[in-house]
């Protein structure tokens, strides 16, 4: 089925969802955080959708993303983008959930629905700082446990040292970049 037909079916069940089209032609379904868990369950269980595979779950920091107005950015927001695929019907869809970029950033975990989400969500927790209540193991995945900060955010400051050594190497004279 085509994307707009599927979206029409979803909007009948959940009127709050909206759809945006980017310049590249990518259609993203924007779902509010409050109803996201029910929407995800419907997308998996409803036989017309049957999205049984979560292909990719990525985090996104929208604070430096330009809007249509020159010089203006989207705002202090973090987003999670879910790419879903159905083995039965063959259709693919992209769902996006946006949260504000502060300590309360949290999205309900879809690990009970798509088991693969466990590791993806731990990575986003580590690198972006979005909490996923419901994940069976909410710990940092990539960085050491005593690392401070969330590195993939756009305003991340690189620390000058970790443990007993400095990050930069003496003799490395960078004229640009985070260590310059």
């Amino acid at each position: 089925m085509k994307n707009d037909e599927l979206f029409g079916l979803l909007q009948v069940l959940y009127p709050d969802v909206s759809s945006t089209v980017a310049e590249t032609g990518e259609i993203q379904w924007q779902v509010p955080t409050g109803i996201f868990l029910e929407v995800a369950r419907t997308l998996k269980d409803d036989p017309r959708f049957a999205f049984d595979s979560l292909m990719c779950l990525s985090g996104l920091d929208l604070s430096k993303y330009p809007t249509a107005v020159k010089g203006e950015f989207v705002g202090e927001l973090l987003a999670c983008v879910y790419h879903l695929h159905s083995f039965e019907h063959g259709h693919e869809v992209c769902v996006s959930v946006t949260v504000p970029k502060d300590e309360t950033a949290s999205i309900p975990s879809v690990e009970p629905i798509w088991l693969v989400a466990g590791y993806f969500e731990r990575e986003i927790l580590d690198l972006y700082g979005i909490a996923f209540p419901g994940n069976h193991d909410p710990r940092r995945l990539m960085m050491p446990e005593d690392w401070i900060g969330h590195p993939l955010r756009k305003d991340y400051q690189y620390p000058s040292n970790y443990s007993t050594w400095e990050l930069k190497r003496e003799g490395q004279n960078f004229t640009s970049g985070p260590y310059a």
Binding site: E23, T24, G25, M55, H83, W114, L115, Y119, M143
Partner: protein
Amino acid sequence: MSHEIQEQNDDLITINMGPHHPSTHGVLRLVIQTDGEMVKTCKPEIGYLHRSIEKIGENLEWYQFVPYTDRVDYVCSMNANLAYCLGVEALLNTKPETAVEIPLRADCIRVLFAELNRISSHLVGVGAAAMDMGAYTPFLHGITQREFINDIFEKTCGARLTYNYICIGGVMRDLHQGAEAEIRAFLDQLEPAMHSFNALITTNTIFRGRYAGVAPISREKAIAYGMVGPNLRASGVDWDLRRDRPYGIYPKLKFAVPVGGAYGGSKGVLGDCYDRYIVRLLEIVESIKICRQVLDMMPPPAEQADDPVGGYRVDVTKKLRTPPKGGIYTRVENPRGETGYYLVSDGSKMPYRLKIRTGSFTSLSIFETLVPGLMVSDVVALIGSLDIVLPEVDR
């Protein structure tokens, strides 16, 4: 981190298969709790090779990122380069002003080298898995064949491991003189070599005894845990991106897709370690067929580099300065599964977000659930059969 483990039953022994281990295919840490030889729980810890490649991508221009894609999966660098380049070209093709038309010869060279690299990657994967079982000889046979492929690549692009050859718009240089004859000669001697490789381990009683029936993954579980590539096909799911979501010149090629089928004899179960091994061996055979077809259909080289039939690269530097704004997700069949690139562009010459979704990442996410009930030596067999490389997991 070990606090929650200490709360449990004290009869269990906690073993650390630490980041430095000869059989973990990289820096993977497994904290295993065993009751004698039986494993009760296992927690993998990763991140020991997290080189922040995604953050580097946000600070470099589009075409400068290609060498880093080599390092994401160094065993099959050509496929990794191809995944990123196809992603960027798909992004550019969404608007007619920036659309890119790859020459036919460049497409053929890309697929040819990607399939040759698939052969060499599977040889390393299968050889390393056999080495973990204690059989050192198949590994040497595999690496001997891989060295022949390395020679072909080295004469064309200059490097043995991280090629940086497939670039946005085509390939960096045309094939070297006599490349086609060399590749044909190599393929002719590979088939009997695969027979001897097969005779060494496939029907070997010890190998079969250690692999058949170990850690089967059912079809539903494989899809739920996001397994991809040969691991998914070994569980019975007939899904190959080269056939079902084709790219490049794959629509014109004829090849079969091997699927698992409890090949392990009387103890074999669908989706066990033996199936994963057999699927990889059969994929090598299919790749040889694909390479021969591509060599037959490759057009001769033309004078101009951007000739639409015989050229090897089109110039995309101006188009990469102002790509279309928005996101795009493309996926490609790598030897380790599907590699997906989610590229978000803000219209400038640097990516805004570059997310790499690799097959080994999800192969490792299923690990925790498969291990309870196995013996410690089966854990080693399982890691070998899943063919995980850690830079794909950690990026």
